[in-house]
């Protein structure tokens, strides 16, 4: 379980998170919505300990992420797969080596036979051909890079998957493919997922619950239906701007 309690974060004078309370239950997929620049990615990076809060508590499996030592944090990170916005693939390595780096169990990572099986397996899970393994990130399209990023994140068989804007910058067809992939992985691997996005349509398709981050706070966390039924003007404004509510209500 992931839980954030009263998390505050500011960069200089700019308040990013202003008392965020947020939770994700085992096995569910939660989409974190919000306009660009509201701190969604910052919140996600708090969960994996890449950013530390000014105050508040971040619990992952009852471990307080901000107070963990170097080794404990590294161990916790092996249970979390993080999908970066632009893939963050290592451009000096080919796809095989990138995904191999995601095999976080050192014994498995050193086992060439295991890696030779596991890497194509991960590529298949994200609908990529085994031949992709030999390519370098520069040779891949935007959608393929995102999928390789997902393959790397799942290579270590994580318990949690955190997606940072997995569909941003993609055309609608590729965005739908990634959304389906997120849903497919949640079902087949049984992972607990948090997806940061500003794509309302995708969030509603994929997630069990949806949360809206606005002005440094979580405005609402509930099912897509509860979201649609909310009378909160911030939610209404967000939905009206980005999403044809009636098409989903039908």
């Amino acid at each position: 379980m992931i839980e954030l309690r009263d998390v505050h974060k500011r960069f200089g004078q700019q308040v990013i998170l202003d008392g965020v309370n947020f939770s994700v239950e085992e096995g569910e997929t939660v989409a974190l919505l919000g306009p660009s620049g509201t701190g969604k990615s910052v919140l996600l990076k708090h969960i994996i300990g890449l950013i530390h809060p000014d105050s508040g508590t971040i619990l992952v499996d009852d471990l307080d992420v901000a107070t963990l030592g170097r080794k404990e944090l590294a161990a916790l990170r092996t249970t979390i797969g993080y999908v970066f916005q632009n893939g963050a693939l290592f451009d000096s390595m080919n796809v095989f080596e990138n995904i191999r780096l995601g095999i976080t169990d050192e014994r498995c990572n050193r086992d060439a036979d295991y890696c030779a099986t596991r890497v194509p397996e991960c590529l298949a899970l994200v609908n990529l051909a085994p031949e992709t393994a030999a390519k370098f990130p520069a040779e891949l399209s935007g959608g393929m890079r995102k999928r390789v990023g997902i393959a790397r994140a799942i290579a270590g068989r994580p318990k949690y998957l955190l997606y940072d804007e997995p569909t941003s910058g993609l055309d609608p067809v590729n965005a739908d493919i990634i959304d389906s992939l997120v849903k497919h992985l949640a079902t087949t691997l049984g992972v607990t997922s948090v997806m940061v996005t500003h794509d309302v349509r995708g969030a509603f398709r994929v997630s069990d619950r949806v949360a809206l981050l606005s002005d440094g706070k979580i405005v609402l966390q509930g099912t897509p239906k509860e979201f649609l039924a909310s009378a909160d003007p911030r939610i209404k404004a967000f939905l009206e701007r980005d999403f044809d509510k009636h098409s989903f209500a039908a």
């Binding site: 990170r77 993080y82 290592f90 780096l101």
Partner: protein, 265 residues
């Protein structure tokens, strides 16, 4: 319009900000060094990458290092010959070429060339990795950026830069020898007599010690700058420029400091 009071306060504020900024750099740099030492135990990760990096530094830099030192040796011989012609015995050219190259020109010119070649590359590589979240990605996988990125670069530099300096010294002396023979009536026996006359074995050690310290500056400063690059292409550019300038200045400072400490203790 700024009032007189704000104008008076702006200077101490700027100084204060600069001091705090410098202390923050010192703190972050010290933390990085501590992290490097902590990650030394992960030799399975850094050793193969160090070998690759050493090959890269050695093979990639050899030509330019030899070229620069050959020209330095040749010019030293030609200018020495010009200045002392008719005043001093010719064997002095051998003395001056060898001592100038080994004590100063070999290690310093090699270091300055490598500050541009390797230092700029390290800062730009790590800076790009920082702004494209590749370093965050490494950390998110529970892996240490020190053992994957910093230690291989630093160790490879600490080994290969002194080796390159030895080659630079040898080629510089040979180029000086050859050049001296082209313009002066100096025999091989004269040159080697002069070269050996003031030679002390410590001169060679001094050259390598200097190269080792320069290697520390050439690898650690750019790695630190790149690792802490700010967001965007501008951040990478700034980190790269700052790395080259800071490394070059540090090399000159170390050169002076080591001359005082080791030659005039």
């Amino acid at each position: 319009m700024p009032t007189a009071q704000t104008a008076i306060l702006s200077l101490p504020r700027a100084v204060g900000r600069s001091v705090i900024g410098s202390l923050a750099h010192v703190g972050r740099f010290s933390l990085m060094i501590a992290e490097v030492f902590r990650a030394l135990g992960e030799w399975r990760i850094w050793l193969p990458r160090t070998l690759d990096e050493a090959r890269n530094i050695g093979a990639g830099s050899l030509f330019i290092v030899l070229l620069v030192s050959a020209f330095a040796g040749a010019v030293t011989a030609l200018q020495t010959g010009y200045q002392f012609q008719g005043n001093l015995p010719y064997y002095v050219v051998g003395t001056l070429v060898v001592e100038s190259i080994v004590l100063e020109l070999g290690p310093v010119l090699t270091a300055l060339v490598l500050a541009g070649r390797i230092g700029a590359r390290y800062a730009a590589e790590l800076g790009t990795m920082r702004v494209t979240e590749q370093i965050d990605a490494l950390e998110s996988l529970g892996r240490s950026p020190m053992s994957h990125l910093i230690i291989p670069r630093v160790l490879a530099g600490l080994v290969m830069i002194p080796v390159l300096t030895i080659f630079a010294n040898a080629i510089g002396v040979m180029a000086g020898w050859w050049s001296a023979k082209q313009v002066l009536p100096i025999s091989n026996a004269d040159f080697t007599y002069g070269a050996q006359y003031y030679w002390r074995p410590f001169d060679a050690y001094y050259s390598i010690i200097k190269a080792f310290f320069f290697a520390g500056a050439i690898t650690l400063i750019p790695c630190y700058m790149g690792f802490n690059a700010q967001q965007g292409a501008e951040g990478v550019g700034k980190a790269t420029t700052t790395a080259v300038v800071a490394t070059s200045v540090t090399i000159l400072l170390l050169d002076t400091l080591l001359a005082k400490l080791l030659l005039h203790p």
